[in-house]
Amino acid sequence: MAPVLLWLVMLLCLLISVVKYLMGIILKWSFPSANIRKDYSLQPTVSVLLPCYNEGKTVYETIESISRSNYPNHLFEVIAQDDCSVDDSYRWIQKAQQDFTNIRIRSGRNPVNCGKARTVCNALQHSTSEIIISIDSDCIFHPNAIRELTACFSEPNLGSVGGRVGVRNPNDGIVTTIQTIIYYTAFQLYKIPENWTRSICCISGCLFAIRRQLLLEIEPAIRARNWFGIPVNQGEDRFLTHQTLLRGYGTYIDNDALCWTTVPNTLSVLFKQQLRWRRSIVRDLFYTLRTLPRHVFKLHPNTVFHLVLIPLGAIVALLVVLTMLFTDPLAWVSPTPLIGYLGVAAIFTWVISKYSVKETLSHPLAFGAYVGWSLVSVLFLTPLALCTMDSADWGTRAKSQQEVELGNPQ
């Protein structure tokens, strides 16, 4: 029985890999028509919601990058909402408000710290625009980003559009090198099959555009999110995307809408971030399984496939690795995965240096360390996520409750 189960699990993993990457390559190269037809003449009003918590000066840089947007300035505004940061973030927001007068910037502050999801909802209260773009306060945006995102809404049934997230600090160390390749493959290959049927299952919260009416419809659900009575304020991007799909709208990633984020450069921060993401994935899987019977016939089969099978992949991978450790404990010593990852690193380093010069890797072979990280990721993150579903800890923004002296902006 056990070997049959193992084979089924392996088959599932193979199916997922083939679908995600092979189909990604095929669709990207052979079916450019699968991309959306953008209409740049479409220029709706836009509110850029900027939830902020303990970002310090970075939030100023973020607003600065938005102020350089080539989207008509009178058609968009920035609404920065501080979630009771304990550092000088809010003052940096105010500084930006004063410095970047070419765009309309409004700021607000939550009465109590309530998490990113509810901060977005609070910011939404100040907005009247047709399109809402929610962004992360630690990202730098390409001037074309807003223009690219809004142009996608020419497709009437499209509910949400995301942008591509690049890595600002690819060469900080092994940890960032790994993430650079992962981010790049995720956007350029992994999500392509989902894009094909407008069924992206998770648009990154770094750059998330959504129709205002749709967000208003979903907002109560965001506020009502709870896990057996405990408010959930993590994974709002995945939740928003999922809700968009369940309401019959399409979701899409526009790889021409660029933003750059600073990824964790230490293992501990990466671990916390990945744990938070894994928790969201597991939570979303449970939500999917709970709601799927009601929605399964409305959704595209590709959407169902990605909503169910991909999150299952994390649990499946755990089972595979556990089975492997018990049946062939020294299998991980085999050089095959290392060679495989080095091969991937070689290919993608070349591709990245050709198509995304900013992310060019100086030490691509560091990606070989992904063998170790993948074991940690598979073995520890999933069980830990499953056992800490009641945690509301963001993990990567914690700071002691003390005011931090402001530095001088450039």
């Binding site: 409004r106 700021s107 109560p220 809700q243």
Partner: protein, 376 residues
Amino acid sequence: MATLNNLPETQPEATPQQAPERVLAPDIKPIPKGQSLLHRTVLTVYRVFAILALYAVLIGIVSYAFIMGFYAVNTTWAAPVILSDSDEKSLDFLEKLVTSRQTLEDLKVDVTRQQSSLSEMTKHRGSLISLDPELQHAIDRERAHDKVTGPELVTLDSQKIKDNTTTQQVLQELEQTEAQIRKDLAAGLITKADADTQLAALNQSRDAYTDSKIAEVLLTDTVLDKTTRGTKSLDVLEKQAELRSEIAQIDVAINIAAKQLEEDNRQVERLRDAIATAKQSPYYLNANGSKRLYFGFVPYDNQADAKVGAPIYDCYLNVILCRKVGIVKQIFLGEQIVTHPIFKTQVRGLTIQMDLSHPESAKSKTVFLGHKPLLF
């Protein structure tokens, strides 16, 4: 560098704009103000389960790492092996043993047959060899005789030729006598009866001459036989050559048969040794033993602790709380290749027979030889 400290405080938006009227989706329920009893119960159960699960995971990871490290450095472990009667290796071994025994019996029959054949050939060779000198002796004797009688016969032959020549001259004179007889008969000087008597006497003389001539020819032949190598003597020599050839062939056959016998004897010895060694195999003991026997695999790295009489310990969780369960009874030197009980890799080593006072320990994944692995 300007500081932000002097910047005027910007007031947050006090009153958000009125949001349009919204309708909750069917699957959305407003968050309850307090946790319901059900939620609290579920959460409590979940948290207890999660804590237990996380501790189990933690203990599992630590244990796994410890076991891996322990077995990487430990040099006293052995893996018990239970050989059943229907064990594939045992059956295979028995099959080979039976085949070897059958081959041995066949070889023994062959050896006996070859020994008998060799003995017969040796006897025959002896007979032939003893015949050869007798034949040679007869030839020599005949040659010696011919050497003596030959010259005499040559002399006699010459004398006979001379005699016959003389007789022939006399017979020429007899023709005149015969003519005179016929004249006398015609003249009536003698009677017919006298004439016939006289003519008959003349014929007898002629007949005697002819006989003498024949004797001369025969004598010449005899002389030829006695003084030269004729076909008869060649026949004798041919027979002698055949005899020697037959002896040589028998020698070759004896030689081959002797070597074959020697090889068969060696093969018999080898098979006997192999069967004797096989009888020392755990599989043989297992297949022929009347009571259950217990064996164990010892990797070469742990061979130093595998000594006859060494105590055997069985431990809980393969590591701790060990107890003595028996001793090493016998060591089999034949190499075994088995799967490592923990690492699942192929390991080379040898087999031991264990005398277990606690037979259930034969079902343990590992036991330890010589001493407890962790001193408790």
